[in-house]
């Protein structure tokens, strides 16, 4: 089933700009989709709620933006540098944060990202309140021109599909199985001889690196890196996307990203109400649809195909 959905979506992505969909919108949604996939890797498969993923997204976008604009490196090298920066930050933040679980983990990651935010406010290269503006789209490999939205579109689709396949591979690998075991019962995983902290840290770093990839790619698309990328509402937004789509589902975060970005586009005219509406969506989902859209659909599908009632509760 999954395979048909995946090929269908890929085909849709490839033809989308030819059937009248605005490519920049899809590219932006794909970047946030990658961000949400990265976040979901932690919450959905290790059970760790990070409230500070904006620090990886934002710092990668600053690094990539600075390198593209000031140093003039080619697109792929700038992105790699951004991902590296996010990875290093991920090692440091993860090393500190995995010392606590649950609610404390969320508060610690939030505090760490606030620290990164204050650093970005003060650091000279980030441009303070203005951010880094009109970042040039340097050519890919130094030869392929990315100035046209259409060329860039296929580059971004390639990155996003690559990131998606990577996460799919991680989740379905033995490593991913251990992560799920940790989510379900950490003490048990420890007793089976797994070094739980090392698994958690690796998952955290992978998630940080992917969030960085999302931030770096976003800079190439939007040509802007600003404090918004690294501030706490961004961490809230990625949580919202994952919640809307469905925590712990493969397609959920991407769908959630498309919905939230579309919502922001349509509601851009009414200013502060966007915040209120996002808050209301948060409340409704937490109270009534904790599995998210994809999660609820999958539950519905299961119920129709397996009429015999099962005693197993879905993991939440």
């Amino acid at each position: 089933m999954n395979r048909f959905v995946a090929f269908g979506l890929l085909a849709l992505l490839l033809v989308a700009p030819w059937i009248g969909v605005y490519p920049v919108f899809i590219m932006k949604a794909l970047c946030f989709g990658m961000f949400a996939i990265a976040f979901n890797l932690l919450i959905g498969y290790v059970g760790l709620l990070s409230f500070g993923h904006a620090m990886f997204f934002g710092s990668a976008s600053y690094i990539t933006g600075h390198i593209l604009k000031v140093w003039g490196w080619s697109a792929e090298l700038s992105i790699i540098a951004g991902v590296l920066a996010a990875t290093i930050l991920g090692v440091a933040a993860g090393w500190i944060a995995i010392r606590r679980q649950g609610i404390y983990f969320a508060m610690i990651t939030l505090a760490l990202s606030q620290m990164v935010y204050f650093f970005c406010v003060q650091a000279p290269f980030t441009g303070g309140e203005d951010g880094i503006q009109s970042i040039p789209r340097q050519p890919l490999f130094g030869i392929i021109d990315l100035k046209s939205d259409m060329t860039l579109y296929y580059f971004v689709v390639a990155i996003a599909v690559g990131a998606f396949l990577l996460v799919y591979r991680i989740i379905h690998s033995p490593f991913g199985q251990v992560l799920k075991a940790i989510r379900e019962n950490e003490a048990r995983a420890t007793s089976l001889g797994y070094n739980v902290d090392r698994y958690k840290l690796l998952a955290f770093v992978l998630s940080a690196a992917l969030a960085g990839l999302a931030g770096s790619t976003k800079v190439l698309v939007m040509q802007l890196a600003s404090l918004t990328d690294v501030f706490w509402p961004m961490s809230g937004e990625v949580i919202l996307m994952t919640l809307v789509g469905g925590i712990g589902t493969i397609f959920g975060p991407v769908l959630g990203a498309f919905i939230v970005i579309a919502m922001q586009n349509y509601l851009a005219g009414i200013g502060e109400w966007v915040l209120v509406i996002q808050g209301v969506v948060f409340v409704i989902i937490v109270l009534a649809f904790r599995r998210g859209i994809v999660g609820e659909l999958m539950a519905l599908w299961d119920r129709r195909n397996k009429p015999a009632p099962t005693a197993v509760q879905p993991a939440e």
Binding site: R100, Y104, Q278
Partner: protein, 293 residues
């Protein structure tokens, strides 16, 4: 006049006082968070927004209804506490049986709702609030504005009174027992759900009280709470949520450290508490006064 390490004493003690005041807010907010978490198992992200609402109710009262500061100090926490009771009864109550994370996400949703509404209503710029205690006294080594002195003293009294109620009275004993084992307390005939509601109202009221006290010092501003609550989270991580006195000491102590950083190395003043949090996590992951749970 003497000088200390090349810093004029006026600046040093001025920042120290400001640090104490910030510490008072950290202490009052982390106290409320800890009490609420103990009984409800919910980290109340809305705490910052409720602090902001406390300040706004006071401002609104002064501006449109002629309610002065001293009345607002009592009325505003009550108003915000009532809104807290509604929030708890309608929404939070449904999440107690779930993972703690859902409580955090729900209250985060309410942060967005409240902040968005206040930003829509009042804009992002601050509203000034008139100082109810103008003037001050020259202590020789520094000038002490009456109002700032009042904030430090009043918040200390409130914190110590809270500590006394929870640790030394019968009501507090019920509360501590409810934190330990709600089912058993219920079996003794105590109305635990009502106790939970009142505890939430109390914690929220404390946040609103801090908000009213903050109004004349900082401007009344829709984003004043969300920036503060993240620091308070760090304070909670540093102190651990196990002990009431621990929250008070950590709050005031970190405020003073932050004030001193502003004097000696101002670039780090915004991040010093987060740096301390990192160090504490590396050395003593459960927090200074906490137990791992």
């Amino acid at each position: 006049m003497f000088e200390l390490l090349g810093i004029p004493p006026q600046a040093l003690f001025g920042q120290l006082l400001l640090g104490l005041i910030n510490g008072a807010f950290y202490a009052m907010l982390s106290l409320g968070l800890a009490v609420i978490f103990g009984l409800l198992n919910v980290i109340n992200f809305t705490h910052g927004a409720q602090y902001m609402m406390g300040a706004f109710v006071a401002w609104f009262g002064l501006q449109f209804l002629g309610i002065n500061y001293w009345v607002a100090l009592i009325v505003s926490p009550i108003v915000v506490a009532i809104s807290g009771v509604i929030l708890e009864q309608l929404f939070l109550k449904r999440l107690y049986h779930l993972d703690h994370l859902y409580g955090l996400l729900l209250t985060f949703g309410f942060v967005l709702i409240f902040e968005g509404m206040f930003r829509y209503g009042f804009g992002s710029s601050g509203q000034p609030y008139e100082n109810p205690l103008p003037g001050g006294v020259n202590l020789g080594f520094m000038f002490l504005p009456w109002y700032r002195g009042w904030v430090v003293v009043a918040s200390l009294i409130i914190c110590l009174a809270t500590w006394f109620i929870i640790e030394k009275t019968k009501l507090g004993a019920y509360l501590r027992a409810g934190t330990e084992n709600p089912t058993l307390v219920r079996a003794f005939g105590i109305n635990v759900p009502r106790m939970i509601t009142l505890t939430y109202a109390f914690g929220v009221g404390l946040a609103a009280f801090a908000g009213v006290m903050a109004a004349p010092i900082y401007q009344v501003n829709p984003t004043m709470g969300s920036n503060l609550i993240i620091v308070v989270f760090a304070v909670v991580v540093i102190g651990g949520m196990g002990s009431i006195m621990g929250s008070i000491v950590t709050g005031f102590g970190l405020g003073v450290i932050e004030g001193l950083t502003k004097v000696f190395y101002p670039q780090a003043s915004a991040t010093v508490i987060f740096v301390i949090m990192t160090i504490v996590l590396l050395v003593r992951p459960a927090g200074l006064f906490g137990t791992q749970r």
